[in-house]
């Protein structure tokens, strides 16, 4: 993993785009793991169909994730013959084998390690200059730098000058970041104004919380580690009631625990953002791997009629904008918003173009005393009623999960229930997302309809030859935007719905809320395997 990160940094330093995802066995620390890198001259949000080079330090337990490492006849396997021959699961692809005595070579260098020899060899294979590798090593290696540099040089010296894997010169110009989706979501939250976070550790959302902890302190905010997810979301609600924009982040099991309090946020009209970094479910599932299977619970998990917001970033960089947007929506509409990220985005580290930033800040309407009795839940045309902040004299009220009247006093009267239900529904329904509701790209009679981390591979598939089709990647999942989709689908005869879950949750949702053309196909599978562009391409070109 260290070598992978250094290679990623080196590629970034050399001016390339690069993306690294990772996979590992169930161990807490150490054991088998793979860093999966894509280095390119153009920006990308997903892995390619196959890996061109597989470099193995050893082959221990590699079967556990061999299915995540597709190779082809043009691929190259680099391995240490002292660790045995490459397993059949890889050689059957027809990939060439380049034996490289990583361990023996490393032993020639004082302080050398096999992974650093492999790093140098890989950098040489793809033509990354040694200076970039050395710069990355200096950034990453706290000790043993000399040995690492020497080992990387030795690895590079083992590679023939032209192997057919050399990258073209890098594209330069754009301002870029090297960032993970989790960091991006955290940064978006702070940009949106979040200054209170309550956190309970859970894979794969933990890094988001760990990034936020020192970052919040720097900007005058606070993070509290809670005793469980029930506490984290209720702490966030308490802080938001106090006037401080608040967020918590979790994954499926934690979201399940938070559902009751999300309903409280809806009923008491307390703004709140929950980032769900989805992993495979149900139950504990596969904690370290991605799936888009929390869509149902995010949309429909709350009891009662509980209008709320669900936003899905559709690229690593978009985790910034989508989360910032969600904070603005939650604050301005006084409602909980769920951000559906996933493990793929969250834990992928990539070179991205600096994303466009939201320019218009949306914030909470604050009530000031006007001499009249304060009506916290006043019925207004927009459904939004100004919210008082504790500490303000003259606007005292009780925020309540009990149904209430306009003043906020508990009420079991039918009229109050209906009026408040309609108020809460109205403010969410009236949300005007503009163009932000979806990324709509390209033209064609076929449209690929998707969301989240399936967007990258879909976009790449549609850019390939013979693939005239439209891409519609939805960013605003709730409230539904049937009119906007209808316009986007004008002239579209066939829709292919792409999603990473077993039962087709997105398609079911689309069918319940939207008008779709007569021909609808579903391309879906559960995690953890991400879609590869060629799978989507195949489906689109199929008659």
């Amino acid at each position: 993993m260290t070598a992978g990160n250094i290679l990623l940094e080196a590629a970034a330093a050399a001016g390339y785009y690069a993306l690294m995802t990772r996979t590992s066995g169930p161990q807490i620390r150490g054991g088998e793991a793979a860093a999966m890198l894509r280095i390119s001259t153009y920006a990308t949000d997903g892995q390619d169909d196959r890996f061109q080079v597989l470099a193995a330090i050893d082959w221990q337990n590699v079967q556990r994730f061999a299915s995540e490492l597709p190779l082809g006849a043009e691929s190259l396997i680099v391995g240490d013959p002292a660790q045995g021959e490459p397993p059949e699961v890889f050689t059957k692809s027809g990939a060439r084998y380049l034996p490289l005595a990583l361990k023996a070579l490393a032993a020639q260098v004082p302080g050398g390690w096999p992974n650093m020899v492999a790093l140098g060899a890989l950098a040489g294979l793809v033509g990354l200059p040694h200076e970039a590798v050395e710069a990355a090593l200096r950034k990453w290696m706290k000790k043993g730098l000399d040995g690492a540099i020497a080992a990387a040089r030795l690895g590079r010296s083992q590679i023939q000058p032209d192997t057919g894997f050399r990258l073209q010169g890098p594209a330069t110009g754009e301002k870029r970041w090297l960032i993970t989706g989790n960091e991006a979501a955290g940064y978006g939250a702070l940009r949106g104004g979040v200054r209170f976070v309550a956190a309970y550790p859970i894979t794969p959302a933990t890094e988001l919380l760990e990034w936020l902890s020192p970052a919040l302190a720097k900007v005058g905010g606070t993070l509290v580690q809670a005793e469980d997810e029930l506490a984290s979301i209720n702490m966030a609600l308490g802080a938001s009631f106090g006037g401080v924009p608040a967020l918590t982040a979790t994954s499926g099991p934690g979201l399940s625990l938070m559902i009751e309090a999300l309903g409280l946020g809806v009923a008491a009209e307390v703004p709140l953002v929950v980032v769900d970094v989805m992993r495979t479910g149900p139950s504990t599932g596969i904690a370290t791997k991605s799936e888009q299977a929390d869509l149902d619970i995010a949309l429909h998990g709350l009891h009662g009629d509980a209008p709320h917001i669900v936003v899905a970033p559709n690229s690593i960089a978009d985790c910034v904008a989508a989360t910032e947007w969600a904070v603005g929506l939650a604050e301005s509409l006084q409602v909980p918003a769920i951000v559906l990220s996933d493990q793929y985005f969250g834990q992928a580290r990539a070179v991205v173009d600096v994303p466009p930033m939201n320019q218009s800040k949306k914030s909470r309407q604050i009530a000031g005393p006007d001499g009249k009795a304060y009506r916290r839940y006043a019925i207004t045309p927009s459904g939004v009623s100004p919210m008082a902040i504790p500490g303000t004299a003259g606007t005292e009220y009780t925020a309540d999960g009990l149904e209430h009247n306009e003043r906020g006093l508990p009420s079991s009267q039918a009229g109050d229930h209906l009026a408040q239900m309609e108020k809460r529904a109205r403010k969410v329904a009236q949300l005007d997302p503009g163009d932000a509701w979806a990324s709509v790209e390209g033209e064609g009679e076929t449209a690929v309809l998707t969301f989240g981390s399936c967007t990258g591979p879909a976009r790449e598939a549609l850019a390939r030859e013979g693939c005239r089709a439209k891409l519609i990647s939805m960013r605003l999942l709730a409230p539904a935007q049937p009119e906007r989709l209808k316009r986007a689908l004008q002239g579209v005869r066939r829709v292919i719905v792409v999603e990473q879950n077993h039962s087709g949750q997105f398609l079911r949702y689309l069918r319940s809320q939207y008008e779709l053309p007569a021909e609808v196909r579903s391309l879906r599978r559960p995690g953890p395997l991400p879609f590869r562009p060629e799978e989507i391409h195949r489906e689109v070109v199929k008659p």
Binding site: A12, A13, K175, R176, W177, L178, E183, Y187, L190, R195, F196, A198, A215, A217, K218, V219, G220, G221, T222, L223, V224, A226, E227, D228, L230, A231, S232, N234, M235, A236, L237, G238, A239, S240, F241, G242, G243, V244, A246, E260, A261, L264, A268, V351, A388, P390, G391, T392, A393, G394, E396, Y397, T398, A399, D400, G401, L402, G408, L409, P410
Partner: protein, 277 residues
């Protein structure tokens, strides 16, 4: 022009005009009176105070005050209050709960709120029964108390909230009785003043489902000795008293939670540096 003379607020100024749902004779009326009296004694103003609660008879209190209130979900009053107090340290935050809300569904938060020692006053109205759902045993119900849900009794040993609070790190532990609103008010005021997490268990009879608790007024007696700052001594006293020992039983000197907001040292844009290539 002269500034208007500040007239000290009275207990009634902390009461709302909203009529409680409690049964006639419920101990919680007196607790409400004690809270409002305490707030007047502390010379606070309603807008400076937030009363946070969960679900149950006791948890109806916020809307009966003229302060800011947060009536959340069952068992989660302490997390909500923690978030509020950490985010807005200048507010005075009171938490109202009952034996079901606080010790059963919210039990885990009780432990961690004591540990965390955020400056909150946690007031639990204990009547050894679930009243709102009409008479089921709670964690503090006697093992042989018979009910529809547990005929013949639960057979379970009672939860001992004061010892748990002490063992978990609460900085102030007291027992009060709702039948003595003045004494109750004094203890609540002291709990609010004391830094860190202050726990006040109030024996508050349920005249509807536990009418025998009317006899508590004859059983209670003032704690015979002054509060100690030694947790071991306090534990021994609490473990061995008769459960009707009224007063402040422990006052610790543990520093309160210090994780609140600090002055910013960077702008949002500064944070971008970590990502920039």
């Amino acid at each position: 022009m002269n500034a208007p003379l500040a007239i000290p607020l009275q207990a009634k100024d902390f009461k709302s005009d909203y009529k409680p749902v409690w049964c006639p004779g419920c101990g919680d009326y007196s607790v409400l009176a004690a809270i409002t009296k305490a707030l007047a004694m502390l010379e606070l103003k309603p807008h400076e105070v937030a009363v946070v609660s969960g679900i149950g008879c006791s948890s109806r209190i916020p809307a009966y005050t003229s302060c800011y209130g947060f009536h959340g979900v069952h068992g989660r009053s302490l997390p909500a209050a923690t978030g509020l107090k950490v985010a807005r340290p200048e507010l005075t935050v009171l938490v109202a709960s009952g034996d079901g809300d606080g010790y059963s569904i919210g039990g885990n938060h009780f432990l961690h709120a004591c540990r965390r020692n955020v400056d909150l006053a946690y007031i639990v109205m204990d009547n050894h029964v679930y009243g709102m759902t009409k008479g089921q045993p709670s964690p503090t119900t006697e093992p042989d108390w018979s009910s529809k849900l547990a005929p013949g009794g639960t057979g379970l040993r009672e939860f001992h909230p004061l010892v748990i609070a002490l063992a978990s790190g609460a900085n102030f532990v007291a027992r009060a009785f709702s039948g003595d609103p003045n004494g109750c008010a004094a203890i609540i005021a002291e709990a609010v003043r004391h830094p860190g997490f202050s726990f006040v268990e109030i024996l508050s009879p349920c005249v509807t489902f536990r009418p025998e608790q009317r006899a508590w007024k004859d059983a209670v007696h003032p704690a015979p000795v002054a509060p100690t700052d030694d947790p071991a001594r306090a534990a021994r006293r609490i473990m061995t008293d008769d459960g009707f020992n009224i007063g402040v039983l422990y006052k610790g000197a543990r520093p309160p939670y210090s994780g609140g907001p600090k002055a910013p040292t960077a702008t949002i844009e500064d944070l971008e540096c970590a990502f920039r290539l």
